[in-house]
């Protein structure tokens, strides 16, 4: 064995390197993002910080009305002016953003958990389980999602939790389908076989060894999905079905502002621009992440 050790010493070409920890890997991935990706990520980080921290410093409450100062233009007092009820527009944007962004995140978290769980179980165990789950997915996907959400919201009310569940529930089949396909790739792999010979049970193999292989796909799809969820929430609120006044959301601000489109057009511009930028950033970030995380897709 003494000779083997000397050979293996030479076998390694790379100089002594310590493998990166989890934090380091995340930094590597983020550092590998395209300029557009980095810009999108920066915007998103800023907007989340903004809606979370800004309320601590704002002079105005988003719900205080002032009949004497409606639809004021921007001023030192009201940085973005006031809306049709005299509420501070900046405070409205912040608190509306809070709801819109959180609904997007929470809905996607739900979709990731539900879709990831069902998709991975279907992909790993196959057979009848797979058949039942995937046909359910097909069924869900064959219903136009917006109508599904409409039905759910009209039946269960439109409090924020219901909106979250409704939106998340619509997205899980897409997540399940991707995870299912990814897990299926690994179902008959030698990794699974080897872990079985080492005494790991099927659930352990699935969640400890197979599901982590799908994280990159899940991250990309979830990032794109948050954008979609924000748009869905905004769309619902715009139709008056989502988040209800006096709670602000970017969608319902847009709806209320349309009555004043000729007198105070900026009231439509502010929430509109934020929705646009946020959804666009999520889409671009998703694409950029995919480029980094999937080495086969190198440009």
């Amino acid at each position: 064995m003494s000779n083997t050790a000397s050979i293996t010493e030479r076998e390694r070409i790379s100089p002594p390197s310590v493998a990166p920890g989890k934090g380091r890997i995340i930094l590597n991935v983020l550092g590998g993002l395209s300029v557009v990706g980095k810009a999108s990520l920066s915007y998103l980080v800023l907007i989340y910080l903004f809606v979370l921290v800004a309320p601590l410093f704002l002079a105005h409450s988003p719900t205080d009305t002032d009949p004497l100062s409606v639809t004021l233009p921007a001023s030192g007092q009201h940085w973005l002016g006031t809306d049709e009820l005299g509420r501070d527009e900046l405070a409205r944007i912040v608190s509306g953003g809070r709801i819109t962004l959180m609904v997007g995140l929470a809905a996607m978290a739900l979709a990731v958990v539900l879709g990831g769980l069902l998709g991975s179980i279907a992909g790993f165990f196959g057979g009848k389980t797979e058949y039942v789950i995937m046909r359910l997915v097909d069924m869900m996907l064959s219903i136009p999602s917006f109508f599904l959400i409409l039905i759910e919201i009209t039946s269960f009310g439109n409090s924020p939790p219901v909106v979250i569940v409704a939106v998340g529930f619509t997205y899980w089949p897409q997540m399940a389908r991707i995870v299912h396909a990814e897990v299926m790739k690994w179902r008959d792999s030698s990794l699974v076989e080897a872990e079985t010979t080492l005494g790991a049970g099927p659930w352990r193999i699935l969640f400890r060894h197979v599901v982590p292989q799908t994280y990159s796909s899940i991250i990309v799809l979830a990032t794109l999905g948050i954008g979609w969820a924000i748009l869905a929430e905004s769309g619902l609120s715009y139709l008056g079905l989502g988040i209800q006044p006096p709670l602000a959301s970017w969608g319902n601000m847009l709806q209320q502002s349309q009555n004043y489109i000729w007198t105070a057009p900026v009231l439509a511009v502010y929430p509109g621009v934020f929705i646009l930028l946020t959804v666009l950033s999520y889409s671009l970030l998703g694409e950029a992440l995919r480029d980094v995380l999937d080495p086969k897709l190198k440009r």
Partner: protein
């Protein structure tokens, strides 16, 4: 004669397909003694791998199953254990190493973690104990700078190193039996010999019994204590390693040995056995090797010969070999 670790009796593993019943393993007997290296040799399709998968109970789904026979290991019949009991045996008492070290490791988990996991699964140890045991095992399998390697991912290692990590995972719990299914086939020759040396070291230092499945007779000569030659799902010859090379008795074994290229003789054309292994769905009635056998008699196609002990510890399945040997 060492103590018997595993006894396989009349093991039959059949695969049911739409059109046929595939008798992949058709009644084999196999004994493994403690600290013994048993080589199973045979062509592709002779049932070597299915035998190992049957021992480990890794047959694919409802199609393939152990139809009859028993696999007695440490007093238990493995073929009758529940899936949970089997999980406790796998990786702890019996381990397996594979041909493809590249794909058998988890690409997104540090190799140290992967080794520790096996230990944590089977033993009541703390994380730090598991970690030092992982490093110790890596050292045992000849991984240099083991305390650094535990923090690396599989893609950072060379093929030979990955195979060593695989072996470390298989032996971290110090199993009594290691099944190695063509462990060297995917490796280049310099690493092949290292892996073989390592298996010998396991046998010598830890008294691990090894079932080595291979079609490389050079590996057999290097490693085996006992050789089992399989053909068409049956054992055709079973004896000590020396006897196989010095006086092979079954015509198939003789033909296998004859087809090894030799440095001494200058042959124009290498010998090859005519024909192919009969399909496992349609075995002939008599001797399964008869239609490829150069010394076949008409009677050979009539009746299946039994596996007979023609010399002490030398079993042959051929009607033409008289008791006492010398075909």
């Amino acid at each position: 004669m060492g103590k018997k670790l595993m006894e396989i009796r009349d093991l039959k593993t059949y695969f049911q397909t739409k059109n046929a019943l595939i008798r992949a393993v058709d009644g084999i007997d196999l004994d493994v003694e403690e600290g013994q290296i048993v080589c199973i040799v045979g062509e592709s399709g002779s049932g070597k791998s299915v035998t190992s998968l049957s021992i480990m109970r890794l047959l694919p789904g409802p199609k393939g199953r152990i139809t009859s026979g028993e696999v007695r290991f440490e007093g238990k019949d493995l073929s009758k254990l529940s899936e949970k009991e089997m999980d406790a045996v796998r990786g702890d008492r019996i381990s397996m190493i594979f041909q493809e070290p590249m794909t058998a490791l988890n690409p997104v988990m540090k190799v140290g973690k992967q080794i520790e996991e096996v230990l944590l699964r089977h033993r009541k140890v703390t994380k730090s104990e598991a970690k030092s045991k992982a490093i110790e095992t890596l050292r045992f399998v000849g991984v240099p700078r083991a305390e650094h390697i535990v923090n690396e991912y599989p893609h950072q290692l060379s093929g030979g190193m990955r195979q060593r990590v695989m072996i470390a995972m298989a032996m971290v719990c110090e199993p009594r039996l290691l099944i190695a299914d063509e462990p060297t086939t995917a490796l280049d020759v310099t690493i092949q010999i290292q892996v073989l040396e390592l298996m010998k070291k396991m046998r010598d230092e830890r008294k691990t019994s090894i079932i080595l499945i291979t079609h490389d007779l050079g590996v057999v000569a290097e490693m085996a204590d006992h050789v089992v030659v399989m053909y068409a799902g049956q054992v055709v010859e079973s004896t000590g390693a020396d006897a196989i090379f010095e006086k092979p008795m079954h015509p198939y074994t003789q033909a296998l040995l004859a087809s090894i290229p030799s440095l001494e003789e200058d042959k124009e054309v290498l010998y090859s056995i005519p024909g192919t292994v009969p399909s496992a769905g349609a075995f002939p009635k008599g001797c399964r090797f008869a239609d490829r056998c150069s010394s076949a008699q008409p009677s050979c196609t009539e009746e299946m010969p039994e596996l007979r002990e023609v010399l002490p510890e030398h079993f042959v399945r051929c009607a033409l070999v008289p008791n006492g040997g010398a075909a």
